[in-house]
Structures are given as structure tokens and as C-alpha cells.
Subunit: 434 residues, 2 copies
């Protein structure tokens, strides 16, 4: 019911044919007893019936020459019903139809508005359209992340929960998304692999085109056992995964927050052409913490050109620090931020900017957001914003993020995201040199 309603939303423009053996009308839409009765070609069938009936419907879909199929229900290999799953595999292998699933949430696409997620809007928000796509081995992970990105207004592209991979697997999806013009960065949640070689080949190819950020769980011995009972994955030795990911150019993360912190930076900003950062702050403490984080992550503080320092010295009161980190201090105004930003953007020694704006500062007026976003539009260097606070800050962050400035609650998270961008820059440089 929820899935069918998703397709009835005004934003979905395709034709929809409900198939139900019992009724000839579903929520006011003419229904059919079998897919074979549908008086049109069918691009996608979404199967949401008990597992034991699924394969006969899959057969009908193949006869109808349906192009693709999402099989939602569980009750296959994950429950020991391996034969039922093998039967489906045999069917799909003989046909040209492709299947995602079974035992999955299926597909959520912010462009075509295909949405096979069976969680209603009240339980799970739908994120706005954007350039971050996601492939996940866990359905619950997809649900939690869609809900969270909706809340945070993080723009998503195509999101796929692929389940038992009877046909389409994560390597196929990776290959597809790497060529999808709507996708700028790919995120993945993985517990284990069935075909490591195929996946790593796909990953190596994908990272030539765009960054792929991965959260691989089942790292620990106990975690691997838990993964095996969850998705039947053989998690394998983590060091092997780690080395293979590195070689393929995947960016590995260790929590969902880290995954999206990094994806957001890739989605909104240009890559840095080096690891020299300029830190601009109106809170000295945050500048110190950012500097620590830079050392943790192999990001270096740029040495400014003398011209850069002079530009700032001429405009700033003497107690401001024009060395890196630039401390505009607690009476900073929007002018000071603008002078500092322009100065470091013009400095050839600077590859990226970490901009720490504590909006609590009383002298900072509302024009600051506009000034930053205008500068960002012209900037070829990535600007990463750090801003900690409450109500007022959250509103300003929303305004900044709507203009493609990625914002982070702590200096550590901002620096982490920047380090991932530099890691990916190095990876593609190495590939181009070869």
C-alpha cells in the first residue's frame, strides 16, 4: 500500500498499473489480475507479495518482457530458503530482465521519483534532490539515512537497497552510478562481498570518474560474526578489505556521519589541488582544534605570502592574528571575514579554506552569509565551513548549505572531509600520471 501510494504522488509522471488478483481497482486506479493483462509495455515491476508466490510472478514478468524488477519481500536465502532464491536466479539468467532484490527496500530516485521504499512519509522523510547516490547492503541503513538526510536537507540522487543480489549486485550498481550524470559522489554501506574481484574491478573503474566513499562494517571478529548472521556475508579479514579498498581508490569511513560528512564536501565543492589549508576563525579555540585535526589528517597549514598578510594587516585591528590560523577574534564583523577570505583565495600557497564561523559573535551581522556565498561562487578552491551552535546557527547553516557550502558541527569533522577530498585528488593524479 505504501509503495503504491508513493507512485501516486503528483511528482511521479509515469503510468502505473496495479496488479491484484482480488480487485480491479486499487486506490481508484484500474487494476489487473496479472501483469500479462497490462495493455502497455512495462519498464519496471515492483513485486510485493509473500515470498512463496514471487517466482511465478517473476516468470510472468519475463513473459511480458518487463525490463526490470524490484523484489521487496524477504523469505529467501537469508532465511535458509536457498532453493527458492536459486530458482529465481535461474529464471532471470535465462532472460534479459534484471532483478534488484529480493529482501530489500529497492530504489529511491529523486529525479524520476521512483520510490519503492515501504516506509510512509510520517515514519521516514524523503531527502531533496542532489548529487549524492547510495548503494546499501542493509535496508534499515537506507531507511535511517534517507530519513536523516531529509531532516538535514542533504541532497540525494539515487539510493538503492539491493538485498540478496540474486541478479544485480553492488558491482553492477557501482558501474551504473559511475556513469550516471546525476551522480557526483557515490556512498556505500557494505557488510561483505560475494565476488571480491568483480567488485574491486568495478570500484577501480568507478573511482576514475567520481569519488566513492564506503562504510564497511564487520571489521572486528565479533562484528564479522554479526554480519554473517545479518546478511550472510563472509566479512573476511579486515586488513585485506582495507588494502583492496585503498588500491581501488575507495575512501573508507567508520561511521554514517563520517560517510555523509565526506559525501557532502564532494557533492558541493571542487577538489583541492594540494593539502595546504588556510584556517580563518572568529574563535581562537576552534582554530587551535582545527590545527590539531589538520595534523591528524595530513593537512598542512599554508604559509601565507607576505602580500596576503599585508592585505589583512591594513584592515584589521592589531590584536587579530594574520598568521595561519587567521584569528579574527570575538569582535569580528562580516568585513573582516570578507577581507580574509579574499586574501587567502588569491594566495597561491593556499589550496583550500577552512572557514570557522561562530555566529554567536555579537558584531557579526546577517550579511555574512551572503558575503561568503558570493565569494564561494567565484572560488576555484574548496571552502569548508565549521559552525557550532543552536537555533540561529542552524538557520545560517541551512542558508549556507543551500548555496553549496558544506557545514560541519566541529573543526574535526570539517578537516576530516577536506582530507578525504585531498586523498581522492591524489588518487586521480596518480591514475593520470600512469
Amino acid at each position: 500500500n505504501v509503495i503504491f501510494k508513493n507512485f501516486l504522488k503528483p511528482e511521479f509522471n509515469g503510468n502505473i498499473f496495479p496488479i491484484n488478483i482480488k480487485s480491479d481497482k486499487v486506490l481508484g486506479v484500474k487494476g489487473y489480475k496479472s501483469i500479462k493483462d497490462v495493455p502497455d509495455t512495462v519498464d519496471l515491476a515492483v513485486i510485493v507479495i509473500p515470498a512463496r508466490f514471487v517466482n511465478s510472478v517473476v516468470e510472468e514478468c519475463i513473459e511480458k518482457k518487463v525490463k526490470s524488477c524490484v523484489v521487496i519481500p524477504g523469505g529467501f536465502s537469508e532465511c535458509g530458503e536457498t532453493e527458492r532464491e536459486n530458482e529465481m536466479r535461474a529464471l532471470v539468467e535465462k532472460s534479459t530482465m534484471r532483478i534488484i532484490g529480493p529482501n530489500c527496500l529497492g530504489v529511491f530516485d529523486t529525479k524520476s521519483h521512483v520510490d519503492t521504499i515501504f516506509l510512509p512519509d510520517e515514519k521516514m522523510g524523503r531527502p531533496p534532490s542532489g548529487k549524492i547516490s547510495m548503494i546499501s547492503q542493509s535496508g534499515a541503513f537506507v531507511a535511517a539515512m534517507l530519513d536523516w538526510t531529509a531532516y538535514e536537507k542533504i541532497g540525494m540522487g539515487k539510493v538503492i537497497s539491493f538485498g540478496n543480489m540474486v541478479d544485480v549486485n553492488n558491482a553492477d550498481l557501482l558501474a551504473y552510478l559511475s556513469k550516471d550524470p546525476e551522480t557526483k559522489v557515490i556512498t556505500m554501506y557494505m557488510e561483505g562481498l560475494k565476488d571480491g574481484k568483480q567488485f574491486l574491478k568495478a570500484a577501480s573503474d568507478a573511482t576514475k570518474h567520481k569519488p566513492v566513499v564506503i562504510l564497511k562494517s564487520g571489521r572486528s571478529k565479533a562484528g564479522a560474526m554479526a554480519a554473517s548472521s545479518h546478511t550472510g556475508s563472509l566479512a573476511g579479514a579486515d586488513t585485506i578489505y582495507d588494502a583492496a579498498f585503498k588500491q581501488a581508490g575507495l575512501i573508507r569511513t567508520y561511521s554514517s556521519e563520517e560517510l555523509f560528512d565526506i559525501a557532502k564536501a564532494f557533492s558541493y565543492q571542487e577538489l583541492p589541488k594540494g593539502n595546504k589549508v588556510a584556517i580563518i576563525t572568529d574563535g581562537g579555540g576552534a582554530g587551535v582544534m582545527a590545527t590539531d585535526a589538520c595534523e591528524d589528517w595530513g593537512i598542512e597549514l599554508a604559509e601565507f605570502d607576505n602580500k596576503t598578510k599585508t592585505k589583512m594587516k591594513e584592515k584589521f585591528p592589531p590584536y587579530c592574528s594574520v598568521k595561519n590560523p587567521i584569528d579574527l577574534t570575538g569582535d569580528a564583523d562580516a568585513d573582516r571575514f570578507e577581507v580574509a577570505l579574499n586574501a587567502v583565495l588569491e594566495d597561491e600557497n593556499v589550496d583550500a579554506i577552512l572557514l570557522i564561523v561562530l555566529f554567536q559573535v555579537p558584531t557579526l551581522d546577517e550579511s555574512i552569509v551572503k558575503r561568503i556565498t558570493e565569494i564561494n561562487k567565484k572560488s576555484k578552491k574548496p571552502i569548508i565551513v565549521v559552525s557550532s551552535g543552536g537555533e540561529f546557527t542552524k538557520r545560517k547553516i541551512k542558508e549556507l548549505e543551500e548555496e553549496d557550502l558544506p557545514c560541519y558541527q566541529t573543526p574535526e569533522r570539517g578537516v576530516r572531509a577536506l582530507a578525504a577530498m585531498y586523498q581522492y585528488y591524489q588518487h586521480i593524479q596518480k591514475k593520470t600520471e600512469k
Copy 2:
């Protein structure tokens, strides 16, 4: 003006006497030209005038036998005006009056409603009353954290930005808060120490009474240099700090989020009596990630008693996992959560519970919050909640946190908080044995 208005708020019950050389009425309240004219004894003077006039007013306060003084303005040693600060030190040393500052935000106390923070409510929220107190070397850090805890509705006790420490220093404040009955956990932000011995003595004493969680920046070489230009701190070799903190029983953190994640757990829950955790989840993936995080942080998965497993097996469908992590799966309802929670709480092999509730699950009705909070009220073991999501989830999290259940966005953050509790439990055990 902002500070004076803070004291005019209805929640502040003391008498207030504005001192202003130019006017005999300030915002409708009778004013005095000098503190010496005030017709009453004075507990606290807040000095908010330009630096060059401060010392003469401090002298007057001493003559008036004012008990304590908060000096807000900068313009002292941090700007090279060392002599001005030494003069103040000489004055206060000869008297019984105590001074916090100069160059600070001063004091925010959710009980007495003393609030010397010069940031208005529109710019910085004020958190609700609670048991987390804070001592900070950085004023901007205090402002950002008060604003953020207000937004997150994290209850705070006493918050002190101490500035240049002309008299009262962080060791004094630590000693005070360790005996303050309103404070259950102390958080600190530090860039460097002036008197290491005195501080570590105070820290060792404080951790006998309550947990102290610290964020020490200036860890890296570049960070230490930045700290020196911010607060004039000699950050010193980080390994020395690290060892000293460990010996004193301080819990060290590396970001403001980690600091408050841990403080929240201490504030709301009992200490675990061991490191054996039971993980309960309705999302398999989150269970796997939690298991990984446990291994990272030295938390072990409890081996359940057979009785415990039987209690669950009797009530659960066969596809639920009753081994640790307990996977209630994506069709979990509130009953299942209740059965699992009660079963593991009664199991002697379990010291703590990590409860992962993904509220997106369609079968989970709203009674779940009440069931969890009722069980929590009777529980002697800590319950840590992990819940990722959007609008709906955030509402449920607020309800849970109001009933003292600490909630975390990711399994990693929840496990980190639990590990800190176990670390502190071990520390006090060792102290008691001696």
C-alpha cells in the same frame, strides 16, 4: 547592557545594583555612581568597563568588601598589558575577594540564574538546568557550547569561562565543582596549563568524587603554536599531558561532540559494573557497526545465559537472533523490545545495554518510548540508546532524553560514551582498592 538585562530576567531572584558614573537609573533600576554607595552588602560584582579603568574599580570593590568579582573585558596580559594584570593580581592577593577573569565570559549558572554572558538570547540560547558543569579556557567555546546544548536540550549546571586566571584558576574551579552537589559530571576545555602540579592535584581529587571529561587542544606542534597565540598557553608535549591526565583519572576527548556525548551518559545514567554489553537492535547493520565499535573501545559482547535466550525465543519469530547482538529485525514491535530489554537486564552476565531503536520500522508504535523509559527507571544498569533518523526520530529522542536516556546518532558515538563510563568505573575501583 546584555549582562545587566540577564540579571533583570524574572528567574533571577537576587538584588541588583547598577553602577554607572553617568546615570542614576539604568533600565529603570536605581543606579549608583560608585559601588561604595550601594546600601547593602555585595556578593558579586561584574565589571564591564574598558580595561584601563578596571583596577580602580577592583580597588573600590575590595574596600566595599565585595565577596567576588567577575572581570569581563580584555586588554590585559593577552594583549601585552602584563603590568595592568599584575597590578590586579597584587590587589586581589592582599584581599579576601576572589576574581574570575579578566578577558572572559564569566559565569552561567542554571540554578541561581547568574548569567554574565554578554551574548543576547537571539545570538546564543541558554540550556536548561542539568548536572553537567563546564570550565573553559576559551570564551568562544563556552558560547558555542551553551548555544548548542540549549538547542539539543542538554541540561547544564554551572559554566565558567575563566579567562586570564589572575586569581581563580582552573584548579580552583575543579575543586569547587567536585564538591558542588548540583554537578554530577565536569567537562573542561583547556589549551594549556600555568601550574601543572596544582591542576593535577585538583584533578586527582575531583575524580574521586565525579567524572571529569576534558578536551585539551594544542596537541599538535602547529596547534600548540596556535594555542600560544590564542591564550598565551604553553601547550607542552602532548604525551606528557596524556600520561598525566590518565594518572589523574581524567577522561580525554578529541572533539566537542565527544566531550558532550560522554558527559550526557554520565549525567543521565548509572556506571556499568563491568564491560559486558548487550546490544539490542531492530536494524541488523547498526548491530554490526555497534559490535565493531565495541571492539575498538574495549567493550565486550556479553555471553547470555541460556535462560535469557529462552525468554526471547519463546516470544520471538524464528528469524530473530537471540544471540548478542540481539536482532529484533525490521518488523520489530514494542513488545519485542520490552521482552529483550527485560531479559538482558535480568542476566548477570550483562553490565550495560546498548539499545538501537530505528524508529522508521513500520511495526513500531509510539508506546515504545514509554516502555523503554519505564524499564530505565527501575534499571541499575546503564542503558545507552542509538537512534538515527529525521523529524520523527528527533521527537522521540527528545522524549527519551527528558527521561534521562542518553541518545546517540550513531552506534560508534553510543559505544564511545559507554567506554568512557567503564573507564571511569575502573578508575574509581582502583582508587578504592588502594
